[in-house]
Amino acid sequence: MLQKPRGRGRPSTQADREREWGDAGEEAPSTSRGTGGTSQGSRASLSSPAVGPRTQKQLEVKVAELVQFLLIKDQKKIPIKRTDILKHVVGDYRDVYPNLLRLAAERLQYVFGYKLVELEPKSHTYILINMLEPVEEDAEVRGDQGTPTTGLLMIVLGLIFMKGNTITETEVWDFLRRLGVYPTKKHLIFGDPKKLITEDFVRQRYLEYRRIPHTDPVDYELQWGPRTNLETSKMKVLKFVAKVHNQDPKDWPTQYCEALADEENRARPAASAPTTSS
Protein backbone atom coordinates (compact mmCIF):
# COMPACT_ATOMS: atom_id res chain seq x y z
CA MET A 1 0.00 0.00 0.00
CA LEU A 2 1.36 3.39 -0.84
CA GLN A 3 -0.30 5.48 1.81
CA LYS A 4 0.55 5.54 5.47
CA PRO A 5 -2.77 5.75 7.25
CA ARG A 6 -2.77 8.46 9.82
CA GLY A 7 -5.88 9.17 11.78
CA ARG A 8 -7.97 12.14 10.89
CA GLY A 9 -9.74 12.02 14.17
CA ARG A 10 -12.72 10.19 12.84
CA PRO A 11 -12.97 6.49 12.18
CA SER A 12 -12.61 5.90 8.49
CA THR A 13 -11.79 2.77 6.64
CA GLN A 14 -9.30 2.68 3.83
CA ALA A 15 -12.23 2.40 1.46
CA ASP A 16 -13.84 5.50 2.91
CA ARG A 17 -10.71 7.53 2.45
CA GLU A 18 -10.19 6.23 -1.06
CA ARG A 19 -13.75 7.10 -2.01
CA GLU A 20 -13.33 10.54 -0.53
CA TRP A 21 -10.34 11.47 -2.59
CA GLY A 22 -11.68 9.39 -5.40
CA ASP A 23 -14.22 12.01 -6.37
CA ALA A 24 -12.28 15.06 -5.35
CA GLY A 25 -14.68 17.21 -7.30
CA GLU A 26 -13.93 15.65 -10.67
CA GLU A 27 -16.84 16.41 -12.95
CA ALA A 28 -18.19 14.02 -15.56
CA PRO A 29 -15.80 14.12 -18.51
CA SER A 30 -12.59 13.96 -16.53
CA THR A 31 -10.87 10.64 -16.10
CA SER A 32 -8.55 11.52 -13.29
CA ARG A 33 -9.61 9.95 -10.10
CA GLY A 34 -6.89 9.94 -7.51
CA THR A 35 -6.71 7.15 -5.04
CA GLY A 36 -3.21 8.37 -4.62
CA GLY A 37 -5.04 11.27 -3.13
CA THR A 38 -5.93 9.26 -0.09
CA SER A 39 -2.45 9.93 0.96
CA GLN A 40 -3.33 13.57 0.79
CA GLY A 41 -5.76 12.83 3.51
CA SER A 42 -3.09 11.17 5.55
CA ARG A 43 -0.56 13.92 5.19
CA ALA A 44 0.59 16.10 8.00
CA SER A 45 -3.02 16.44 9.09
CA LEU A 46 -2.71 15.63 12.73
CA SER A 47 -5.57 13.83 14.39
CA SER A 48 -8.12 16.38 15.33
CA PRO A 49 -9.76 15.54 18.65
CA ALA A 50 -13.49 15.23 18.56
CA VAL A 51 -13.72 18.03 21.08
CA GLY A 52 -11.30 20.50 22.51
CA PRO A 53 -9.25 23.35 21.16
CA ARG A 54 -7.02 22.92 18.14
CA THR A 55 -3.41 23.90 18.40
CA GLN A 56 -1.97 26.69 16.32
CA LYS A 57 -0.01 24.11 14.36
CA GLN A 58 -3.09 22.03 13.54
CA LEU A 59 -4.89 25.08 12.22
CA GLU A 60 -1.84 26.08 10.23
CA VAL A 61 -1.70 22.66 8.62
CA LYS A 62 -5.40 22.83 7.75
CA VAL A 63 -4.99 26.24 6.14
CA ALA A 64 -2.03 24.90 4.16
CA GLU A 65 -4.10 21.97 2.92
CA LEU A 66 -6.92 24.31 1.96
CA VAL A 67 -4.59 26.62 0.05
CA GLN A 68 -3.18 23.71 -1.94
CA PHE A 69 -6.63 22.31 -2.59
CA LEU A 70 -7.86 25.64 -3.94
CA LEU A 71 -4.77 26.09 -6.12
CA ILE A 72 -5.05 22.64 -7.64
CA LYS A 73 -8.77 22.94 -8.31
CA ASP A 74 -8.40 26.34 -9.85
CA GLN A 75 -5.60 25.17 -12.11
CA LYS A 76 -8.21 23.04 -13.83
CA LYS A 77 -10.51 26.06 -14.03
CA ILE A 78 -13.22 24.18 -12.16
CA PRO A 79 -15.14 26.41 -9.78
CA ILE A 80 -14.69 25.15 -6.24
CA LYS A 81 -17.80 24.31 -4.27
CA ARG A 82 -18.06 24.81 -0.55
CA THR A 83 -19.35 21.26 -0.20
CA ASP A 84 -16.16 19.92 -1.75
CA ILE A 85 -14.04 22.07 0.51
CA LEU A 86 -15.86 20.81 3.58
CA LYS A 87 -15.76 17.22 2.42
CA HIS A 88 -12.18 16.94 1.25
CA VAL A 89 -10.23 19.35 3.39
CA VAL A 90 -12.07 20.82 6.32
CA GLY A 91 -13.66 17.68 7.71
CA ASP A 92 -13.79 17.86 11.46
CA TYR A 93 -12.72 21.48 11.46
CA ARG A 94 -16.14 22.45 10.16
CA ASP A 95 -16.77 24.70 13.13
CA VAL A 96 -13.87 26.92 12.20
CA TYR A 97 -14.51 26.77 8.46
CA PRO A 98 -15.11 30.52 8.02
CA ASN A 99 -11.83 31.24 9.74
CA LEU A 100 -9.96 28.65 7.70
CA LEU A 101 -11.34 30.02 4.47
CA ARG A 102 -10.50 33.57 5.45
CA LEU A 103 -6.94 32.63 6.37
CA ALA A 104 -6.53 30.59 3.19
CA ALA A 105 -7.81 33.51 1.11
CA GLU A 106 -5.39 35.84 2.82
CA ARG A 107 -2.45 33.51 2.13
CA LEU A 108 -3.50 33.02 -1.48
CA GLN A 109 -3.51 36.76 -1.97
CA TYR A 110 -0.31 37.58 -0.12
CA VAL A 111 1.82 34.69 -1.30
CA PHE A 112 0.51 33.94 -4.78
CA GLY A 113 -1.38 37.05 -5.83
CA TYR A 114 -4.67 35.20 -6.27
CA LYS A 115 -7.95 36.56 -4.94
CA LEU A 116 -10.54 34.04 -3.78
CA VAL A 117 -13.85 35.22 -5.18
CA GLU A 118 -17.37 33.87 -5.04
CA LEU A 119 -18.63 33.13 -8.54
CA GLU A 120 -22.03 34.60 -7.83
CA PRO A 121 -23.29 36.04 -4.56
CA LYS A 122 -24.44 33.33 -2.15
CA SER A 123 -23.47 30.58 -4.58
CA HIS A 124 -20.83 29.18 -2.22
CA THR A 125 -18.76 28.44 -5.30
CA TYR A 126 -15.35 30.02 -5.69
CA ILE A 127 -12.73 30.79 -8.26
CA LEU A 128 -9.31 32.41 -8.05
CA ILE A 129 -8.79 35.71 -9.81
CA ASN A 130 -5.28 36.74 -10.73
CA MET A 131 -4.41 40.07 -9.20
CA LEU A 132 -1.36 40.34 -11.41
CA GLU A 133 -1.99 41.53 -14.94
CA PRO A 134 -0.95 38.93 -17.49
CA VAL A 135 1.77 40.13 -19.80
CA GLU A 136 2.45 38.91 -23.33
CA GLU A 137 5.93 37.69 -22.44
CA ASP A 138 4.46 35.43 -19.74
CA ALA A 139 3.57 33.03 -22.52
CA GLU A 140 7.25 32.44 -23.26
CA VAL A 141 8.11 31.36 -19.75
CA ARG A 142 5.07 29.42 -18.69
CA GLY A 143 4.69 25.66 -18.80
CA ASP A 144 1.05 25.54 -19.83
CA GLN A 145 -1.54 27.32 -21.92
CA GLY A 146 -2.53 29.92 -19.39
CA THR A 147 -5.87 31.67 -19.24
CA PRO A 148 -7.10 32.34 -22.75
CA THR A 149 -6.37 36.05 -23.14
CA THR A 150 -6.27 35.61 -26.87
CA GLY A 151 -7.61 32.80 -28.93
CA LEU A 152 -10.93 31.21 -29.49
CA LEU A 153 -12.52 32.24 -26.22
CA MET A 154 -11.65 35.89 -26.65
CA ILE A 155 -13.06 35.85 -30.15
CA VAL A 156 -16.33 34.37 -28.95
CA LEU A 157 -16.51 36.76 -25.98
CA GLY A 158 -15.91 39.63 -28.36
CA LEU A 159 -18.59 38.41 -30.73
CA ILE A 160 -21.12 38.12 -27.94
CA PHE A 161 -20.44 41.59 -26.59
CA MET A 162 -20.43 43.32 -29.96
CA LYS A 163 -23.74 41.68 -30.86
CA GLY A 164 -25.45 43.03 -27.77
CA ASN A 165 -24.44 40.51 -25.10
CA THR A 166 -26.22 37.54 -26.60
CA ILE A 167 -25.73 35.56 -29.76
CA THR A 168 -27.03 32.33 -31.28
CA GLU A 169 -24.82 29.36 -31.90
CA THR A 170 -25.65 29.57 -35.60
CA GLU A 171 -24.30 33.10 -35.73
CA VAL A 172 -21.14 31.99 -33.94
CA TRP A 173 -20.37 29.34 -36.54
CA ASP A 174 -21.29 31.65 -39.41
CA PHE A 175 -18.63 34.00 -38.13
CA LEU A 176 -16.02 31.40 -37.22
CA ARG A 177 -16.32 29.69 -40.61
CA ARG A 178 -14.87 32.81 -42.13
CA LEU A 179 -11.80 32.28 -39.94
CA GLY A 180 -11.51 28.67 -40.97
CA VAL A 181 -12.97 27.30 -37.75
CA TYR A 182 -15.73 24.70 -38.15
CA PRO A 183 -17.83 22.82 -35.62
CA THR A 184 -17.28 19.50 -37.30
CA LYS A 185 -13.66 19.77 -38.34
CA LYS A 186 -10.56 19.31 -36.16
CA HIS A 187 -8.61 22.56 -35.92
CA LEU A 188 -4.83 22.73 -35.87
CA ILE A 189 -4.67 25.09 -32.92
CA PHE A 190 -8.04 24.78 -31.21
CA GLY A 191 -8.51 21.07 -31.61
CA ASP A 192 -12.24 20.51 -31.22
CA PRO A 193 -13.79 23.99 -31.42
CA LYS A 194 -17.34 22.74 -30.90
CA LYS A 195 -16.38 20.97 -27.69
CA LEU A 196 -14.36 23.95 -26.52
CA ILE A 197 -17.17 26.43 -27.02
CA THR A 198 -20.22 24.40 -26.02
CA GLU A 199 -18.67 22.26 -23.28
CA ASP A 200 -15.27 23.30 -21.91
CA PHE A 201 -15.82 27.05 -21.76
CA VAL A 202 -19.28 26.47 -20.33
CA ARG A 203 -18.00 24.12 -17.63
CA GLN A 204 -15.33 26.63 -16.76
CA ARG A 205 -18.09 29.24 -16.51
CA TYR A 206 -16.71 31.56 -19.15
CA LEU A 207 -19.86 31.06 -21.23
CA GLU A 208 -23.53 30.35 -20.69
CA TYR A 209 -25.09 28.02 -23.26
CA ARG A 210 -28.87 27.76 -23.31
CA ARG A 211 -31.27 26.13 -25.68
CA ILE A 212 -33.62 28.50 -27.44
CA PRO A 213 -37.13 27.03 -27.19
CA HIS A 214 -39.27 26.46 -30.27
CA THR A 215 -36.33 26.53 -32.65
CA ASP A 216 -36.18 24.02 -35.45
CA PRO A 217 -33.47 23.01 -36.13
CA VAL A 218 -32.63 23.55 -32.49
CA ASP A 219 -30.47 26.55 -31.79
CA TYR A 220 -28.72 27.76 -28.66
CA GLU A 221 -27.89 31.16 -27.27
CA LEU A 222 -24.50 32.08 -25.90
CA GLN A 223 -23.77 34.72 -23.30
CA TRP A 224 -20.95 35.64 -21.00
CA GLY A 225 -20.65 33.40 -17.97
CA PRO A 226 -19.98 34.57 -14.41
CA ARG A 227 -16.26 33.85 -14.61
CA THR A 228 -15.83 36.16 -17.59
CA ASN A 229 -17.18 39.15 -15.71
CA LEU A 230 -14.79 38.44 -12.88
CA GLU A 231 -11.69 37.77 -14.94
CA THR A 232 -12.07 40.39 -17.64
CA SER A 233 -14.34 43.29 -18.50
CA LYS A 234 -16.38 44.76 -21.35
CA MET A 235 -13.75 47.41 -21.83
CA LYS A 236 -10.94 44.88 -22.06
CA VAL A 237 -12.87 42.80 -24.56
CA LEU A 238 -13.75 45.89 -26.60
CA LYS A 239 -10.10 46.86 -26.66
CA PHE A 240 -9.27 43.37 -27.90
CA VAL A 241 -11.84 43.63 -30.68
CA ALA A 242 -10.57 47.09 -31.62
CA LYS A 243 -7.00 45.82 -31.74
CA VAL A 244 -7.96 42.96 -34.02
CA HIS A 245 -9.60 45.43 -36.42
CA ASN A 246 -6.76 47.89 -36.03
CA GLN A 247 -9.23 50.52 -34.88
CA ASP A 248 -10.10 52.50 -31.80
CA PRO A 249 -12.67 51.30 -29.22
CA LYS A 250 -14.50 54.61 -29.65
CA ASP A 251 -15.29 53.59 -33.23
CA TRP A 252 -18.10 51.56 -31.72
CA PRO A 253 -19.96 54.21 -29.73
CA THR A 254 -22.74 52.00 -28.39
CA GLN A 255 -20.39 49.35 -27.10
CA TYR A 256 -17.95 51.97 -25.86
CA CYS A 257 -20.65 53.64 -23.75
CA GLU A 258 -21.69 50.29 -22.38
CA ALA A 259 -18.10 49.44 -21.53
CA LEU A 260 -17.61 52.79 -19.81
CA ALA A 261 -20.70 52.29 -17.70
CA ASP A 262 -19.41 48.86 -16.77
CA GLU A 263 -16.08 50.37 -15.70
CA GLU A 264 -17.88 52.84 -13.47
CA ASN A 265 -19.84 50.06 -11.84
CA ARG A 266 -16.66 48.17 -11.11
CA ALA A 267 -15.03 51.19 -9.58
CA ARG A 268 -17.72 51.36 -6.93
CA PRO A 269 -16.69 49.47 -3.78
CA ALA A 270 -17.71 45.82 -3.73
CA ALA A 271 -20.60 44.70 -1.52
CA SER A 272 -19.74 42.13 1.14
CA ALA A 273 -16.53 40.18 1.45
CA PRO A 274 -17.20 36.93 -0.41
CA THR A 275 -15.48 34.58 1.98
CA THR A 276 -17.65 35.19 4.99
CA SER A 277 -20.90 34.11 3.42
CA SER A 278 -20.77 30.63 4.81
Binding site: L2, Q3, K4, W21, G22, A24, T31, S32, R33, G34, T35, G36, G37, S39, Q40, S42, R43, A44, E60, V61, V63, A64, V67, Q68, L71, I72, Q75, K76, R107, Y110, V111, F112, G113, Y114, N130, M131, L132, V135, E137, D138, E140, V141, R142, G143, D144, G146
Partner: protein
Protein backbone atom coordinates in the same frame (compact mmCIF):
# COMPACT_ATOMS: atom_id res chain seq x y z
CA UNK B 1 9.36 19.67 9.92
CA UNK B 2 11.85 22.34 10.82
CA UNK B 3 10.78 25.00 13.23
CA UNK B 4 10.14 28.50 11.95
CA UNK B 5 13.35 29.93 13.28
CA UNK B 6 14.13 31.38 9.91
CA UNK B 7 13.15 35.00 9.46
CA UNK B 8 10.20 35.23 7.09
CA UNK B 9 10.89 37.34 4.03
CA UNK B 10 8.53 39.63 2.20
CA UNK B 11 6.63 38.86 -0.98
CA UNK B 12 6.40 41.39 -3.76
CA UNK B 13 4.71 41.14 -7.13
CA UNK B 14 8.05 40.00 -8.55
CA UNK B 15 7.97 36.96 -6.26
CA UNK B 16 4.26 36.36 -6.85
CA UNK B 17 4.53 36.32 -10.62
CA UNK B 18 7.57 34.07 -10.29
CA UNK B 19 5.61 31.63 -8.13
CA UNK B 20 2.56 31.71 -10.39
CA UNK B 21 4.60 30.94 -13.48
CA UNK B 22 6.79 28.41 -11.68
CA UNK B 23 3.65 26.50 -10.76
CA UNK B 24 2.76 26.07 -14.43
CA UNK B 25 5.80 23.81 -14.77
CA UNK B 26 6.32 20.44 -13.14
CA UNK B 27 10.07 20.90 -13.04
CA UNK B 28 12.52 23.47 -14.42
CA UNK B 29 16.21 23.53 -15.24
CA UNK B 30 18.31 26.21 -13.63
CA UNK B 31 18.67 28.33 -16.75
CA UNK B 32 14.88 28.32 -17.12
CA UNK B 33 14.51 29.45 -13.52
CA UNK B 34 16.96 32.31 -14.08
CA UNK B 35 15.11 33.32 -17.20
CA UNK B 36 11.84 33.29 -15.28
CA UNK B 37 13.35 35.38 -12.50
CA UNK B 38 14.66 37.94 -14.98
CA UNK B 39 11.28 38.09 -16.68
CA UNK B 40 9.50 38.85 -13.40
CA UNK B 41 11.94 41.61 -12.54
CA UNK B 42 11.46 43.09 -15.99
CA UNK B 43 7.69 43.18 -15.57
CA UNK B 44 7.55 44.68 -12.10
CA UNK B 45 10.83 46.27 -11.19
CA UNK B 46 12.91 47.09 -14.23
CA UNK B 47 15.54 49.09 -12.44
CA UNK B 48 16.19 46.87 -9.46
CA UNK B 49 19.20 44.61 -9.39
CA UNK B 50 18.18 41.02 -9.74
CA UNK B 51 18.72 39.12 -6.50
CA UNK B 52 21.12 36.23 -6.49
CA UNK B 53 18.97 33.23 -7.42
CA UNK B 54 19.73 31.35 -4.22
CA UNK B 55 18.74 34.31 -2.06
CA UNK B 56 15.67 34.96 -4.16
CA UNK B 57 14.48 31.39 -3.72
CA UNK B 58 15.36 31.27 -0.04
CA UNK B 59 13.31 34.39 0.48
CA UNK B 60 10.28 32.82 -1.16
CA UNK B 61 10.80 29.56 0.71
CA UNK B 62 10.79 31.36 4.05
CA UNK B 63 7.29 32.58 3.21
CA UNK B 64 6.18 29.19 1.85
CA UNK B 65 7.30 27.42 4.99
CA UNK B 66 4.01 28.04 6.80
CA UNK B 67 2.20 26.51 3.82
CA UNK B 68 4.30 23.35 3.98
CA UNK B 69 5.62 23.68 0.45
CA UNK B 70 9.02 24.71 -0.87
CA UNK B 71 10.96 25.30 -4.05
CA UNK B 72 13.39 22.43 -3.95
CA UNK B 73 16.63 22.16 -5.87
CA UNK B 74 18.03 18.88 -7.08
CA UNK B 75 20.46 17.41 -9.60
CA UNK B 76 19.56 15.12 -12.47
CA UNK B 77 21.06 11.71 -11.89
CA UNK B 78 22.33 11.15 -15.41
CA UNK B 79 24.13 14.39 -16.18
CA UNK B 80 24.17 16.51 -13.07
CA UNK B 81 21.94 19.36 -14.23
CA UNK B 82 20.42 21.46 -11.47
CA UNK B 83 16.63 21.28 -11.48
CA UNK B 84 13.92 22.98 -9.45
CA UNK B 85 10.39 21.98 -8.49
CA UNK B 86 7.73 23.22 -6.11
CA UNK B 87 7.24 20.32 -3.70
CA UNK B 88 4.90 19.50 -0.91
CA UNK B 89 6.76 19.21 2.39
CA UNK B 90 4.05 17.57 4.37
CA UNK B 91 3.09 14.76 2.09
CA UNK B 92 4.76 11.42 1.82
CA UNK B 93 3.04 10.20 -1.32
CA UNK B 94 2.31 10.77 -4.98
CA UNK B 95 -0.15 13.55 -4.26
CA UNK B 96 0.81 15.91 -7.03
CA UNK B 97 0.32 13.14 -9.56
CA UNK B 98 -3.01 12.22 -8.03
CA UNK B 99 -4.80 15.14 -9.60
CA UNK B 100 -3.56 14.47 -13.11
CA UNK B 101 -3.98 10.72 -13.44
CA UNK B 102 -6.68 8.12 -13.01
CA UNK B 103 -6.61 5.49 -10.30
CA UNK B 104 -5.31 2.73 -12.53
CA UNK B 105 -2.67 5.05 -14.02
CA UNK B 106 -1.39 5.96 -10.56
CA UNK B 107 -1.24 2.31 -9.66
CA UNK B 108 0.77 1.61 -12.80
CA UNK B 109 3.22 4.27 -11.67
CA UNK B 110 3.45 2.71 -8.22
CA UNK B 111 4.21 -0.66 -9.76
CA UNK B 112 6.88 0.82 -11.99
CA UNK B 113 8.31 2.76 -9.05
CA UNK B 114 8.59 -0.40 -6.98
CA UNK B 115 10.33 -2.28 -9.79
CA UNK B 116 12.73 0.62 -10.29
CA UNK B 117 13.62 0.91 -6.62
CA UNK B 118 14.09 -2.85 -6.31
CA UNK B 119 16.24 -3.14 -9.41
CA UNK B 120 20.02 -3.35 -9.43
CA UNK B 121 20.42 -0.79 -12.19
CA UNK B 122 17.65 1.64 -11.31
CA UNK B 123 15.83 0.70 -14.50
CA UNK B 124 12.71 -1.40 -14.99
CA UNK B 125 12.01 -2.94 -18.35
CA UNK B 126 8.84 -2.11 -20.22
CA UNK B 127 8.02 -5.81 -20.36
CA UNK B 128 8.23 -6.28 -16.61
CA UNK B 129 6.07 -3.25 -15.95
CA UNK B 130 3.47 -4.25 -18.50
CA UNK B 131 3.26 -7.74 -17.08
CA UNK B 132 1.79 -6.24 -13.93
CA UNK B 133 -1.10 -4.66 -15.80
CA UNK B 134 -3.56 -7.28 -14.52
CA UNK B 135 -2.84 -6.39 -10.93
CA UNK B 136 -3.78 -2.74 -11.25
CA UNK B 137 -6.43 -1.13 -9.11
CA UNK B 138 -9.34 0.59 -10.76
CA UNK B 139 -10.53 0.28 -14.33
CA UNK B 140 -9.02 -2.59 -16.28
CA UNK B 141 -6.10 -1.51 -18.46
CA UNK B 142 -4.78 -3.32 -21.49
CA UNK B 143 -1.07 -3.53 -22.23
CA UNK B 144 -1.42 -1.26 -25.27
CA UNK B 145 -3.06 1.36 -23.10
CA UNK B 146 -0.41 0.92 -20.43
CA UNK B 147 2.29 1.63 -23.00
CA UNK B 148 0.64 4.96 -23.71
CA UNK B 149 0.30 5.75 -20.03
CA UNK B 150 4.01 5.11 -19.59
CA UNK B 151 4.64 7.60 -22.40
CA UNK B 152 2.41 10.09 -20.59
CA UNK B 153 4.64 9.70 -17.56
CA UNK B 154 7.69 10.36 -19.71
CA UNK B 155 6.13 13.45 -21.28
CA UNK B 156 5.14 14.92 -17.93
CA UNK B 157 8.62 14.16 -16.60
CA UNK B 158 7.86 11.57 -13.97
CA UNK B 159 9.79 8.84 -15.77
CA UNK B 160 12.71 8.72 -18.17
CA UNK B 161 12.90 6.11 -20.90
CA UNK B 162 16.13 4.67 -22.24
CA UNK B 163 16.05 1.83 -24.76
CA UNK B 164 12.78 0.34 -23.57
CA UNK B 165 13.60 0.66 -19.91
CA UNK B 166 12.26 3.18 -17.43
CA UNK B 167 13.76 5.01 -14.49
CA UNK B 168 12.68 7.93 -12.33
CA UNK B 169 12.97 11.48 -13.63
CA UNK B 170 14.75 13.94 -11.36
CA UNK B 171 11.35 15.48 -10.76
CA UNK B 172 9.99 12.29 -9.26
CA UNK B 173 13.01 11.95 -7.01
CA UNK B 174 12.67 15.57 -5.85
CA UNK B 175 9.01 15.13 -5.04
CA UNK B 176 9.01 11.62 -3.68
CA UNK B 177 12.38 11.02 -2.05
CA UNK B 178 11.00 11.09 1.45
CA UNK B 179 8.09 8.88 0.49
CA UNK B 180 10.34 6.36 -1.25
CA UNK B 181 12.72 6.15 1.68
CA UNK B 182 9.86 5.55 4.07
CA UNK B 183 8.02 3.05 1.90
CA UNK B 184 10.94 0.94 0.70
CA UNK B 185 13.48 1.22 3.51
CA UNK B 186 15.16 -2.07 2.67
CA UNK B 187 15.31 -1.76 -1.09
CA UNK B 188 16.38 1.88 -1.18
CA UNK B 189 19.95 2.70 -2.27
CA UNK B 190 21.88 5.67 -0.94
CA UNK B 191 24.78 7.59 -2.44
CA UNK B 192 27.98 7.23 -0.44
CA UNK B 193 28.96 10.83 -1.13
CA UNK B 194 25.81 12.98 -0.77
CA UNK B 195 23.74 10.43 1.19
CA UNK B 196 20.78 11.19 -1.02
CA UNK B 197 18.44 8.68 -2.55
CA UNK B 198 20.12 6.86 -5.42
CA UNK B 199 18.29 5.33 -8.34
CA UNK B 200 20.95 5.42 -11.08
CA UNK B 201 24.65 5.46 -10.36
CA UNK B 202 27.92 3.58 -10.26
CA UNK B 203 28.90 1.01 -7.66
CA UNK B 204 32.13 -0.40 -6.36
CA UNK B 205 32.56 -4.00 -7.47
CA UNK B 206 34.44 -4.89 -4.31
CA UNK B 207 32.51 -3.41 -1.43
CA UNK B 208 29.26 -2.47 -3.16
CA UNK B 209 28.95 1.19 -2.17
CA UNK B 210 27.18 3.36 -4.69
CA UNK B 211 27.57 6.89 -5.96
CA UNK B 212 25.52 9.17 -8.23
CA UNK B 213 27.17 9.92 -11.56
CA UNK B 214 27.43 13.65 -10.79
CA UNK B 215 28.82 12.79 -7.35
CA UNK B 216 31.40 10.52 -9.01
CA UNK B 217 32.26 13.33 -11.41
CA UNK B 218 32.82 15.80 -8.61
CA UNK B 219 34.62 13.43 -6.25
CA UNK B 220 37.12 12.17 -8.79
CA UNK B 221 37.41 15.45 -10.66
CA UNK B 222 41.12 16.03 -10.31
CA UNK B 223 42.21 12.48 -9.56
CA UNK B 224 44.32 10.52 -11.97
CA UNK B 225 43.77 7.22 -10.21
CA UNK B 226 40.22 7.05 -8.90
CA UNK B 227 39.79 4.82 -5.88
CA UNK B 228 36.73 3.75 -3.94
CA UNK B 229 36.24 6.10 -0.96
CA UNK B 230 35.23 3.15 1.17
CA UNK B 231 37.50 0.23 0.41
CA UNK B 232 40.18 2.03 -1.62
CA UNK B 233 40.02 -0.45 -4.46
CA UNK B 234 40.51 0.87 -7.97
CA UNK B 235 37.31 2.46 -9.28
CA UNK B 236 36.48 0.44 -12.41
CA UNK B 237 34.11 2.78 -14.25
CA UNK B 238 34.47 5.73 -16.61
CA UNK B 239 34.43 8.99 -14.73
CA UNK B 240 31.83 11.39 -16.15
CA UNK B 241 32.48 15.08 -16.61
CA UNK B 242 31.26 17.63 -14.12
CA UNK B 243 28.26 19.51 -15.49
CA UNK B 244 29.33 22.94 -16.69
CA UNK B 245 26.49 25.30 -17.59
CA UNK B 246 28.90 27.72 -19.25
CA UNK B 247 30.33 25.17 -21.62
CA UNK B 248 26.90 23.97 -22.55
CA UNK B 249 25.61 27.41 -23.34
CA UNK B 250 28.60 28.32 -25.51
CA UNK B 251 28.53 25.26 -27.64
CA UNK B 252 24.75 25.25 -27.81
CA UNK B 253 24.96 21.52 -27.67
CA UNK B 254 21.74 19.58 -27.51
CA UNK B 255 21.42 17.01 -24.77
CA UNK B 256 21.15 14.09 -27.16
CA UNK B 257 24.35 14.80 -29.00
CA UNK B 258 26.43 15.15 -25.87
CA UNK B 259 28.61 12.20 -25.10
CA UNK B 260 26.90 11.09 -21.93
CA UNK B 261 28.27 8.04 -20.25
CA UNK B 262 26.26 4.88 -20.11
CA UNK B 263 24.38 5.29 -16.91
CA UNK B 264 23.95 1.69 -16.03
CA UNK B 265 27.37 0.94 -14.71
CA UNK B 266 27.16 -1.34 -11.75
Amino acid sequence: MQGSTRKVGAMTDVHRRFLQLLMTHGVLEEWEVRRLQNHCYKVHDRNATVDKLEDFINNINSVLESLYIEIKKGITEDDGRPIYALVNLSTTSVSKMATDFAENELDLFRKALELIVDSETGFASSTNILNLVDQLKGKKMRKKEAEQVLQKFVQSKWLIEKEGEFTLHGRAILEMEQFIRETYPDAVKICNICHGLLIQGQSCETCGIRMHLPCVAKYFQSTSEPRCPHCNDFWPHDIPEVFDPEKEREAGISKSSRKSLRTRQH
